[in-house]
């Protein structure tokens, strides 16, 4: 479990109240919760699909794959993507070459689904995603994202910006928590719904050297048990509990007279006040049953196959509505999109589980007037190979593909109905310059009014690649 509660809010409040002494000018100043420039967005819903959805069967149509299906890359009338210098530059196995060399798959595998143009923009979306298709005029696709890990640690990479073999960095949500804190003192600033997906993807929500208070907090969408220790023990009376908190405050207050300069003590007094209020605020925030039937239907909560995603996305909306800065949502279970075999069957089923809920969220944000406050990001850890995966005699799947894939942005400060960037004719390489995953971070930070380069922590060296560049082409 993560611990990103009101970390900054507390620090900032203490500074505001003169409890924490301002450091001398030369010392490092942690962020004070103020944006660096005028923000476009107040909060973010970051939707991540684990396992790697195929860009070639969702948002990046490549007719050449159908035209040259069955040929090897070297026979198609394009430069062979496997011999491009980009290939090795944008792909590094965690596994050392002497232990295992990842196979490449050169036989062109046709698209497994049809496509339709949608809306005024005419952007094509695959037939497996009709509801999202109906929203394209509100979305900004980026079709030239790349990462560098060709295995599932890429799930951490898209959130931290670093390859598994690099030094670990804080996740994007924790930077935002660090930089801005919460809009609601009684709720965590960075909440995770449905994740982390596995034990080894903890880094995707973790705060690393920013400290535990900036990490994502996984919440259960269960008002009776939203987070560990989050409620009064059932065998204590409410008033008994209240009295205990009162006395704690009183005794700590007496100690504060004894130790007038102890900032930690003052902070702890405040922490107890917040903790007491959180015990009601957090369960209320995740109380989905209080939503109307129409809303629940909009998210597909009434249907078995869309319930999981629908609940998590509706939960996300409730949280941003209440001032949570960053909600990281995993609408699908761990790794399910990973389609080495039977891609068609797999993606048909999976697309149906998220299509309506995601579109429901987008529509709901609009109808509630949240569109201009909330930035939505929809992504996965990598795309899938244009070549047919033949491992173990496979005949109907695609392998991991870090070289180019598609994500979309929507909402606050984002242009509507555009597709920016592209992969090559075969959907293989993101065309230069392409956007490394930290460009997504820079975009999100920028919309929130933050400049990644001004969030540095002393003694922690960040590289240019960590900061990324905002994708200005998709911004209003």
């Amino acid at each position: 479990m993560g611990l990103g509660f009101t970390g900054l809010a507390l620090g900032a409040m203490l500074q505001r109240d003169g409890v924490v002494r301002a450091e001398p000018e030369t010392a490092h100043q942690p962020p004070n919760g103020q944006p660096h420039h005028a923000p476009k967005a107040k909060s973010v819903i970051w939707i991540f699909l684990s396992g790697g959805y195929s860009h070639l069967e969702t948002f990046d149509p490549k007719p050449a794959l159908n035209r040259y299906a069955g040929l090897t890359f070297d026979l198609a009338p394009f430069a062979n993507p496997l011999t491009s210098p980009l290939h090795d530059r944008r792909s590094r196995s965690v596994v050392a070459e002497e232990i295992n060399r990842r196979d490449t798959y050169p036989i062109i595998y046709p698209m497994q689904v049809g496509w339709r143009r949608h809306g005024q923009s005419g952007i094509e979306v695959s037939d497996w995603l009709p509801h999202i298709g109906s929203c394209v005029d509100d979305l900004a696709f980026v079709r030239s994202i790349y990462t560098t890990d060709n295995d599932h640690a890429a799930e951490n990479q898209i959130h931290t910006g670093r390859h598994r073999l690099d030094e670990v960095q804080p996740s994007i949500g924790s930077w935002i928590n660090y930089g801005l804190g919460s809009l609601n003192d009684n709720l965590p600033s960075f909440v995770v719904l449905g994740g982390p997906t596995r034990s080894d993807t903890r880094a995707s929500i973790d705060s690393n050297y920013l400290g535990p208070r900036h990490a994502g907090i996984p919440l259960n969408l269960d008002p009776n048990n939203p987070l560990p220790n989050g409620r009064r023990s059932p065998d204590l009376l409410p008033e008994e509990h209240r009295n205990e908190f009162d006395l704690i405050g009183r005794l700590n207050g007496l100690a504060a007279v004894e130790y007038p300069q102890d900032a930690n003590l003052r902070a702890r007094i405040r922490a107890y006040e917040l903790a007491y209020r959180m015990q009601t605020a957090v369960p209320e925030a995740v109380a989905l049953p209080s939503e109307s039937e129409a809303t629940r239907r909009l998210y597909g909560i009434d249907q078995a196959n869309t319930r999981l995603a629908g609940e998590r996305l509706l939960g996300a909306r409730r949280l941003v509505e209440r001032g949570v800065r960053f909600v990281q949502v995993f609408p699908s279970p761990d790794g399910v999109w990973d389609s080495h075999q039977q891609l068609r069957a797999n993606h048909t089923r999976l697309c149906a589980t998220i299509d309506k809920p995601v579109a429901g969220l987008l529509k709901d944000l609009k109808q509630r007037g949240l569109w201009d406050d909330v930035l939505v990001v929809f992504c996965t850890e990598f795309g899938r190979t244009p070549g047919l995966e033949q491992r173990g005699g496979g005949r109907d799947g695609r392998d991991h593909h870090p070289h180019g894939f598609t994500v979309f942005f929507a909402g606050a400060g984002i242009r509507k109905g555009i597709a920016h960037g592209a992969t090559d004719e075969l959907g293989f390489h993101a065309l230069e310059p392409g956007h490394y995953v930290t460009d997504m971070h820079a975009t999100v930070l920028h919309q929130l009014g933050l400049d990644a380069r001004r969030l540095e922590v002393p003694g922690r060296r960040r590289l240019n690649v960590d900061f990324g560049e905002p994708i200005r082409e998709i911004m209003v």
Partner: protein, 919 residues
């Protein structure tokens, strides 16, 4: 640091307007050059013979003439180079980052035009090798101070000297109860009980001269002798040495990193500290026990330090971690910064990075049998297609596999990009520390080190096991005989077969035993290189062939027997079952073919006469490269200027919650300067060359307990934490130690203290790691699993800044609402409150209870105000319970309202800031 205001930056074209303003070399030029140029053209390096760290050196220039020509910007090569559009010429080169900004270039131009004015007596940067931390510490003179009365030992003299310089007055000694609590928590990580508090106060109050000093010294001795000392400080060092239980893919499970048996290293740490083993020896054993003391099983697990970094998927990553963290943990050097290029601050070349790696190039892991635990099997090396199993038994350790493993340099931190034109590098440590002159000699290993199955206990256990098998086979035969006698005529045929099988089994187990004995003898004699070396080998080979043949025959007979049985069954089965029986028959028949072949081959092999036999247990190389031994001895040497300083600083940090050198893992030129350089050196020197004091026998060198004793008995340590003016104004951060720092308990200590104060703590020392799901266990926190993945801490600990097992040179300490929720709502706290309330309530009225609870949990009595608040609270809660419908009162708490109120008060005190604070 040079900073251009953002506004000006965006108006680059306005720059010439600045020409009128005088450029300030010290403020505007030198910081810029320092930031962007000094790495290659300064004290550290002088590429092209050029230095830019004084104006004179710039004017003198380098191989290609002067860098600046005063007043003539166009002729100044410095300006030409920073301005060049040709990336091959441009400075700083593209590999060193962005070009200078137009503003920066204009500043340089203006400065040159204005006459390139420098500073009076400007001195070039000092030689990096003269950096304070790179020179051997000598014992500094203890300063003479005015406040002699305050000085209990030299630490105080160094601290007092600064006090006097800064106009600070040391705070008085902390109240005795708080001091005792501080001492307990610092040395053993558990608070004193009320009884221990009373005893101490009592002794302090004695009329004997020096009563307080004696009582205090007695407690210090008692705590350092406590086995809990090793737990407490073991966990600190586990932070620094990155202790981690296995991880990789816990959810599968699949072991990728570290090892499931790594907990034996944790136990070694605890025991070493409790034995007060020298820190130098600890370093040597962690890095090279297999070369330094290869027959000492207890020491070999110390190499867990290396095992921890193991990474199944990528041996390069394993070695990168070894270089980085060996550098940081023991030397306070950021060797990792020289991975992709020469170090920017310290005189460490990229080649030296790889030379350091070469110490670890030959390493591999193995798991050795531990007495009483059976054979853990051979260590499962990485195979991409197989999951790596969780093996918690046996001792995991390191050994040199390929003695002459080559270390190749690569670029860009990516091992795929090998520098083809560079020969493999030889092992060595940085030359500026004398590490290039190490003598590396291969180490001959004793027999049991390279053939561990020959260890006496392993032999005994193996013989016992084989004998047990013979015995079991014989018993089975007797049983079969008895059955045969009692059997009906129809049964007799089957039972005769069973008897025959049992007889074969007896013969086979006996043959296995004989074979083992013969192979054992052969292994030992071959090692002894006796003349008749062939004879035992021949005998072993012969007996093994015999045993193999018998085993094959049994397997065959058993399979035939099974097949016959299944066929018999098949006659009576019907429907779907018939299909599955058919499948089993086919499978068995196929198996039978293989077994028959095996048996035939084994029989044929009986005719062989060679001396080839299977060795008893796995065989490892007979020598070790000696590389790590050389490294370990070099690090753990009093000639190494860094080792002792770095260790002393870590110990100091954990007593004072403040380090003498703030950058605890970087003592290099980019690190922070020590606040008290002489004190640091005095401690380092004293650590290596201890002096006896107070009538004690002289402690061993590198004794950590000696350092602890010096520190905790100092006046510096014993001050109160509450501040007073004017100190607080003069030094608000307490940089000069005029008071104690109040610190928050570490995660483990919060939980341990809850359990210890209620008396429920399970005080067992050491043992197999506990899984975090076993959180109901009342063992100390350090025995639970720690790993850098989800679920890698006890939930309760995680909330209190549990250590990051990948990087925890110092703990962070946060204040968060979840900590409040955990202490207020966690079942652990609630249950302990009930246990403790009952214990403290015996024969005590409310007033006495309040006093006892404060003393027990906070080591002090309540003030009048606190006492009143608590009594009022108790009354209020009692009234609440009385007026509440009994059905709503729940079942966990005491039914007695008075006792329940006291449980409630205990909970409140657990949540008191001063419970989790060490004052």
């Amino acid at each position: 640091m040079f900073r251009v205001p953002l506004l000006i930056l965006s108006l680059a074209c306005a720059a010439p307007a600045m020409a009128q303003d005088a450029v300030d070399y010290a403020k505007q030029i030198k910081p810029l050059l320092k930031d962007r140029c000094f790495t290659c053209h300064g004290a550290l390096k002088q590429k092209a013979g050029l230095r830019l760290d004084t104006v004179k050196l710039m004017r003198d220039g380098g191989d290609s003439g002067p860098a600046i020509v005063v007043g003539k910007d166009a002729e100044s090569s410095l300006l030409q180079r920073v301005n060049s559009k040709d990336s091959a010429k441009r400075m700083p080169p593209p590999s060193e980052g962005d070009p200078l900004t137009p503003i920066q270039i204009e500043l340089l131009r203006t400065w040159i035009k204005q006459g390139a004015k420098g500073l009076i007596d400007e001195k070039p940067g000092p030689d990096p090798r003269d950096h304070w931390a790179f020179r051997k510490p000598v014992r500094p003179k203890v300063p003479a101070v005015k406040n002699q009365a305050w000085v209990r030992n030299p630490i105080d003299a160094f601290i007092a000297a600064e006090h006097e310089k800064q106009g600070l007055t040391p705070m008085p000694e902390a109240p005795k109860g708080l001091l005792l609590r501080r001492l307990y928590l610092d040395l053993i990580g558990l608070p004193p009980t009320r009884e221990e508090l009373a005893e101490f106060l009592n002794e302090c109050a004695s009329a004997k001269p020096q009563a307080v000093e004696l009582a205090y010294a007695k407690v210090v001795d008692k705590l350092l002798a406590s086995p809990h000392y090793g737990e407490r400080w073991g966990r600190h060092w586990m932070d620094v040495w990155r202790y981690s239980d296995w991880y990789g893919r816990r959810h599968v499970p699949d072991v990728w990193n570290s090892a499931p048996q790594i907990w034996r290293w944790r136990d070694w740490i605890i025991k070493s500290l409790n034995d007060d083993k020298g820190y130098d020896r600890m370093i040597q054993e962690m890095l090279a026990a297999d070369e330094i003391t290869p027959a000492d099983d207890d020491a070999l697990v110390a190499t867990g330090y290396i095992v921890r970094n193991w990474y199944a998927l990528n041996p390069h990553q394993w070695k990168r971690d070894m270089v980085e963290h060996t550098g940081k943990a023991f030397l306070g050097l950021t060797l990792n910064c020289a991975h992709c290029h020469d170090h920017k601050y310290d005189p460490i070349s990229q080649e030296e990075y790889f030379r350091f790696r070469a110490f670890f190039e030959p390493i591999e892991l193995r798991q050795d049998r531990v007495a009483g635990e059976g054979d853990p099997g051979e260590f499962q090396k990485y195979d991409y297609s197989k999951l790596r199993k969780i093996i918690k038994l046996g001792a995991i350790r390191v050994y040199d596999d390929k003695q002459d493993a080559k270390t190749l340099m690569y670029v860009g931190g990516d091992e795929r990009s090998v520098m083809k034109d560079r020969p493999p590098v030889k092992p060595g440590a940085p030359a500026f520390l004398g590490g290039d002159r190490l003598k590396i000699k291969p180490v001959e290993l004793p027999l049991t080190a390279h053939n561990p199955a020959l260890k006496q206990f392993a032999v005994n256990e193996e013989i016992a096991r084989l004998k047990q098998e013979v015995k079991a086979a014989k018993e089975a035969l007797t049983k079969a005989d008895v059955l045969l006698i009692a059997a009906t005529v129809e049964q007799k045929q089957t039972l005769r077969k069973a008897v025959a099988l049992a007889q074969m089994r007896v013969a086979s187990t006996e043959a296995e035993l004989e074979s083992y004995h013969a192979r054992l003898t052969a292994a030992i004699e071959r090692r002894a290189e006796l003349q008749a070396v062939d004879e035992p080998a021949h005998k072993a080979a012969k007996l093994e062939r015999h045993a193999t043949w018998l085993r094959a025959k049994i397997l065959l007979a058993q399979a035939e027997h099974d097949l016959a049985h299944v066929k018999q069954q098949a006659e009576v089965t019907k429907g779907k079952e018939k299909d599955s029986t058919f499948v089993s028959i086919k499978k068995l028949e196929a198996q039978l073919i293989v077994l028959r072949k095996d048996a035939e081959q084994a029989e044929k092999n009986l005719k062989l006469t060679d001396a080839k036999y299977t060795p008893v247990g796995p065989m490892y190389p007979k020598t070790s490269s000696g590389r790590r031994k050389a490294l370990a001895e070099w690090i753990a040497s009093s000639n190494n200027p860094l080792t002792a300083r770095v260790a002393v600083n870590h110990i100091w940090l954990r007593h004072f919650d403040q380090a003498l050198v703030d950058t605890v893992f970087d003592f290099g030129r980019n690190g922070k300067k020590p606040s008290h350089p002489d004190l640091l050196d005095w401690l380092a020197f004293e650590f290596m060359n201890p002096t006896a004091s107070g009538g004690r026998k002289p402690p061993g060198s590198w004794s950590m307990q000696h350092l602890h004793r010096l520190i905790v008995t100092s006046s510096t340590y014993r001050m109160q934490s509450s501040p007073a003016e004017p100190n607080a104004k003069r030094d608000p951060d307490n940089r000069w130690y005029w008071r104690a720092n109040a610190k928050r308990m570490e995660a483990e200590i919060v939980r341990d203290s809850l359990l210890a104060t209620s008396g429920e703590l399970d005080r067992q020392i050491g043992g197999m790691v506990l899984e975090n799901a076993q959180d109901a266990s009342k063992r100390r926190g350090l025995y639970f699993s720690v790993f850098p993945e989800d679920g890698g801490h006890l939930k309760f600990l995680e909330i209190f800044d549990a250590p990051d097992p990948c990087d925890c040179y110092r703990r962070s300490s946060s204040v968060m609402p979840q900590q409040a929720l955990a202490l207020a709502n966690n079942q652990l706290a609630i249950q302990q409150s009930r246990v403790l309330a009952r214990k403290l309530s015996e024969k005590r009225n409310a007033d006495a209870f309040v006093v006892a609870a404060f003393e027990h949990l906070l080591s002090r009595g309540p003030t009048a105000q606190e006492s009143a608040a608590c009594r009022e609270f108790l009354q209020k809660q009692v009234e609440l319970y009385r007026k509440t419908n009994p059905k709503e009162l729940g079942s966990g708490a005491s039914p007695d309202p008075a006792l329940r109120a006291r449980e409630s008060l205990i909970r409140v005190l657990y949540n008191h800031n001063d419970f989790i604070t060490v004052r």
